[in-house]
Amino acid sequence: MTQAGDSRTEMYQLALHAAPSGIMVVGDRGDIQFANQTLADMFGYGLEEILGKPVEILLPEQHVAAHRRHVENYARRPEPRPMGAGRDLEGVSKDGRRFPVEIGLRPAQTDSGWIAVATVIDITKRKAIEERLRKHEEQLEELVAERTRELREAQREKERVLEHLIQAEKMTAVGTLVSGIGHEINNPLYVVLAAAEALADEQDLARCRAYGNEILKQAKDIAETVKNLSRYAQPGARHDLQRVDVNASIAGAVRLARRSLRDDRIEIKTTTSPAPDILARPEEIQQVIFNVVRNAIQAIAGKGLIEIHTAQKGDCVTVRIEDTGTGIPNEHLKRVFDPFFTTKGPDEGEGLGLYIVRQIVTRYRGTIDVENAAGGGARFVIRFPIPDPKNAEGRLL
């Protein structure tokens, strides 16, 4: 070797030993033929302690056997392996400390056989950072999951509160009916009482029979009234969907609304045309109509008329409810379906009536619109979709 060659070799040696990665050359029998200072330091050995030693001294005991197989495979099919490729690798230092490493391999053919140049990096710090990151991610995911749970719970709570309010509103509506209902029940009950009293004193069989028939007729009347009322007061959520004749719901709602009227100042006129059944809870459809009609009643100051009209239009049953009341100021048209929006006094409800209407209608995939009619009153148009006959028994909700 020339002087220049010596100094170049020295320079290479210096560069190799100063490299930030551990570098070693391993022979095809797995012996360490060269190692740089960085590698020796990484594993806690002096350079002379590892040179010529089997590379397995740098491996934890349980990895040795597997490593030998790898070396054999590698000797048969040597090819470069980039850093970080393959499994998580571990090294063990002279004092037994195990640490994660990343190893890159580059095979080379020499006169004395195959060698592999191995580049080794201690990735303890990186692993620790990665682990911290993973933990942060986990915590973040946990936080997100927790927050989602909280939001869901809040949503459920909101729904529960609203359900209570809706039920309370129903009861308020029932309350306004009670006065009418009292009249509706007490009158026939009175006839029942008087006929029964007369029956007790009567000798004539024909007259007895007439009293009995009268009692029967009035009792049936009372039963019908009670049936209507209890259907209205039931909480809807517990019932399955049924085929509902919208016209029958309208008739029921109108009967209830008439009872809440104290006099005949307001006329309720219904023009129905036959329409296919929709799929809904009957009491809810009745409530929709009743609430809109009640709203109309409250909008009429003196004498007035409420007209209800049904028709089948395309794949919808359309219900139009028009009143001769004061109408709705244009700036309120968009807000009448908002919860707690009311222009009425505190005795006339919480302002949930039309909100409930829209809730129910949209739940059945229907629509409700309101505008002021030419005559000045309000006109509500409700559209309920007619169920697909192929799927008529299916669930909408």
């Binding site: 007490n186 009158n187 009175y190 006099d263 005949d264």
Partner: protein
Amino acid sequence: MKHHVLILDDEADVRTAIRLQLKGTRFEILEAENAQQAIGLLGDNPISIDVIICDVRMPGTSGVEAAATFQREYPTTPVIVLTGYPDVALAVDFMKKKDVVDYLIKPVEKDKLIAAVEQAAQGRKLFG
């Protein structure tokens, strides 16, 4: 002289019930389905109508207005309110104004109605 009870109620069934309950008493029944009819009957039989039985909730002129009219026009003819719509405030109001001598709730029992009618009719005698 004949004794009459005038029934003012818009519901025929109720008028029939009252008629049934007063059957066999000394009173004959006159029926009116609205205030105008009642006032007409009162004009025709001012002396013989001993008691008016009057409903509260009726189309047109309500029982409240009718009772006030009867009191004004025929102050010696007692009015019994018979309502299917119990309302304490309304009852108190009636009593304060002395428009009515009794306030009964439908359905009323026969004995109670007869007693109220008799008592009202006796009261009228004191007035007269």
